[in-house]
């Protein structure tokens, strides 16, 4: 009886540890938030998104606050990006979204810079002020040829 008791205990501990591992992978690593419906979803339209892709991170001052969930072209054939942000984030309507690169060759991400207005953005609205990706080729071209003839 006592040996089957220890076995039951071992199985119980095993299942708990396993479920904790699954939960850790889902929530911490995979970024699953349980109240997902309440997430702040915004849109931003750029001229050029460079190497930005689905799942690229979104940061404010280097802190990760969300990720890109969809990229498509709008009616004017400009890339329109869907931003999925943490639900408790409060962003003013004059927030700026810029596409930046981490390091010289690193991944691209969207940096948000909050503004000074009192009004806040709500889900479904557009971030109006955007700054496109810095195109390295153009940059190099500009330096070499000494002029920015686009």
């Amino acid at each position: 009886m006592s040996s089957s008791g220890t076995r039951d205990l071992a199985v119980g501990i095993f299942v708990v540890i396993g479920l904790m591992a699954l939960a850790f992978l889902s929530v911490q690593v995979g970024g699953l938030s349980l109240g997902r419906q309440g997430g702040l979803v915004l849109f931003a339209t750029f001229d050029d998104i460079g190497g930005l892709s689905n799942r690229s991170p979104i940061r404010i001052g280097g802190v990760r606050v969300g990720r890109v969930t969809e990229i498509e072209l709008d009616a004017n054939l400009r890339p329109r990006v869907q931003l999925d942000l943490s639900p408790d984030l409060e962003l003013t309507i004059d927030t700026m979204a810029a596409i930046r690169t981490s390091g010289l060759l690193g991944d691209q991400f969207i940096a948000l810079e909050p503004g000074a207005e009192d009004e806040m953005l709500v889900s479904g609205e557009d971030v109006v002020f955007t700054e496109s990706a810095t195109n390295l080729d153009k940059l190099i071209g500009a330096v070499v040829h000494g002029g920015g003839n686009d």
């Binding site: 089957s4 071992a10 299942v15 396993g18 479920l19 992978l25 889902s26 690593v29 995979g30 990760r64």
Partner: protein
Amino acid sequence: MKGVLSRLGAWVTGGVVGLGQTVNFGASVLRSAFVSPLRGRQIVAAIYDSGVLSLALLCASGATVGFVLGLQLYYTLSRFGAESSLGTAVGLALIRELGPVLTGLLVTGRAGSATCAEIGSMKATDQLDGLRMMAIDPIHFVVMPRALGIIIVMPLLSALFVIFGIGGAYLIGVELLGLDGGSYISGLESAVAFREDVLQSIVKSLIFGVLLALISTYRGYACAPNAVGVSRATTSTVVTTSVCILLADFVLTSLWGV
């Protein structure tokens, strides 16, 4: 030429018949899972045998795979100056492929072979017929709990394998090779998404669990009731399941896109 063709034909026919029988068997196992009583005691025993007893193996293997990934990817990535992506590369590789696949293969060797051999030797020593004579369905009493145990255990072990792998690569990359710990973790967290990566990983390990449970219990249940039969069935369980897991992994990965 004719001999080769007819042997090929026999092989194909045998395969199709075997597949049909396996599916039939699986259907009766599935049906018996909904018959009362639940067989909780047997299910707990099965989780102990295939889960708890595989735990040490899985954790050690996960950490070792993590070490190797850490070393290899660090040197490969550093040639492009992209060492900071180590977390991303390790995380995606482990969660999407290596975790479920290697867990599947290890559990096949550790628990699948044991399950097959146990059911086979129960058959060889009349224990299954003994149950029948007591009006107890051996599929319900012996097979279903073991199959269910394997299916329950697989995603849990796979998750532990992945975490130990990520930890192993962290040890190598950050502690040994001096990479920045923060960029390892943030690379990992920003690259891995729940739906595309973690959920698919869990679904994969569940599918591998179903494959292993079905093949190992069927091979044991259908083996020739003697020592040679049991050993053949055990070998064939390991071989068949390993191939099936690798094939299924390829199919699933290509279905879901990368």
